[in-house]
């Protein structure tokens, strides 16, 4: 699968880079992002039910692609 979100099979990104003593949160916005994802779990589940059941769905791959801010 070489879709826009699925990177399986795509090449050319270089070696895997590990961080020494990686912080739990890299930026002040990260905790908010975590919580947003956490609370939106049921929304994501609803989205996945609408998709082809054979498709592999990853909630966080969907949310950024469909900004929820536009619906409010």
């Amino acid at each position: 699968m070489n879709g826009g979100a699925d990177l399986g099979g795509m090449m050319g990104f270089g070696p895997v880079v590990q961080e020494e003593d990686e912080p739990l949160f890299h930026a002040p916005g990260r905790p908010a992002r975590l919580v947003s994802w956490w609370r939106l779990g049921p929304v994501g589940s609803g989205i996945s039910m609408l998709r082809d059941p054979r498709a592999r769905i990853c909630i966080r791959a969907i949310i950024p692609a469909r900004p929820i801010t536009r619906s409010g």
Binding site: F13, A27, G29, A32, R33, L34, V35, S36, I59, T69
Partner: protein, 208 residues
């Protein structure tokens, strides 16, 4: 010129596109009453202090010393893990996969960053990065080499692609020379990477 190839003459924001999106999303969720600051603080604190790779190390060490628990973990991973109090927030299934001399398991999420949060905490940045996600399936031995792991050529590598519905916990092989170790001592040998498959359990002489 921006990183995505065109000028933003009137854009003086110091926020990146992602940061701006996060703020907009958080503002909207707050305005609609879906999140409150106290709940946010509690969840962040939980991930800072309670949920992390120690949970997974507990599962692994228990499976090493208690054959009945290991059998349960093989038979019904989710129930065995839940019995220790490690519950997923979204209700996704979790499956333990056991390394052996014959097979080594490696976990990835080629779509984004699906990860067994309840037992490993938050995923490391490299787990979410395109280099790992793109090559874990097509070149697992090459990826493992970048983590300093070289397997016996006879050992088969199985790569598990996580989804929103199913997550994986790798049960590494118990290191030699750990007979008589307590569960706590064994858990100290179990690294986060060993439970993703990009590492092995530490040898006892280098345990801290």
């Amino acid at each position: 010129m921006t990183s995505h190839g065109h000028d933003h003459d009137s854009d003086h924001s110091h926020l990146t596109e992602t940061e701006a999106r996060v703020r907009a999303l958080e503002s909207l969720l707050s305005a609609k009453g879906y999140i409150d600051s106290a709940a946010v603080d509690r969840i962040i604190q939980t991930y800072e202090t309670k949920i992390g790779p120690r949970n997974g190390a507990h599962v692994v060490a228990k499976s090493w010393v208690e054959p009945e628990f290991e059998a349960w973990l093989r038979r019904d991973s989710a129930a065995a893990i839940h019995s220790l109090g490690y519950h997923s927030r979204q209700g996704e299934h979790i499956e333990a996969v056991f390394n052996s001399d014959e097979v080594h398991h490696l976990v990835v999420c080629t779509l984004c960053s699906c990860y067994p949060w309840s037992v490993l905490g938050l995923p490391p940045t490299w787990y979410k990065s395109p280099p790992f996600r793109s090559r874990a399936v097509i070149d697992p031995r090459g990826v493992l080499a970048e983590f300093g792991v070289t397997l016996d050529p006879a050992t088969r590598v199985e790569v598990h692609d996580s989804t929103a519905e199913i997550r994986y916990l790798v049960i590494p092989q118990r290191p030699a020379g750990t007979e008589g170790y307590s569960m706590e001592q064994l858990a100290d040998l179990v690294t986060r990477n060993a439970m993703i498959g990009t590492g092995l359990a530490r040898a006892p002489q280098v345990a801290s």
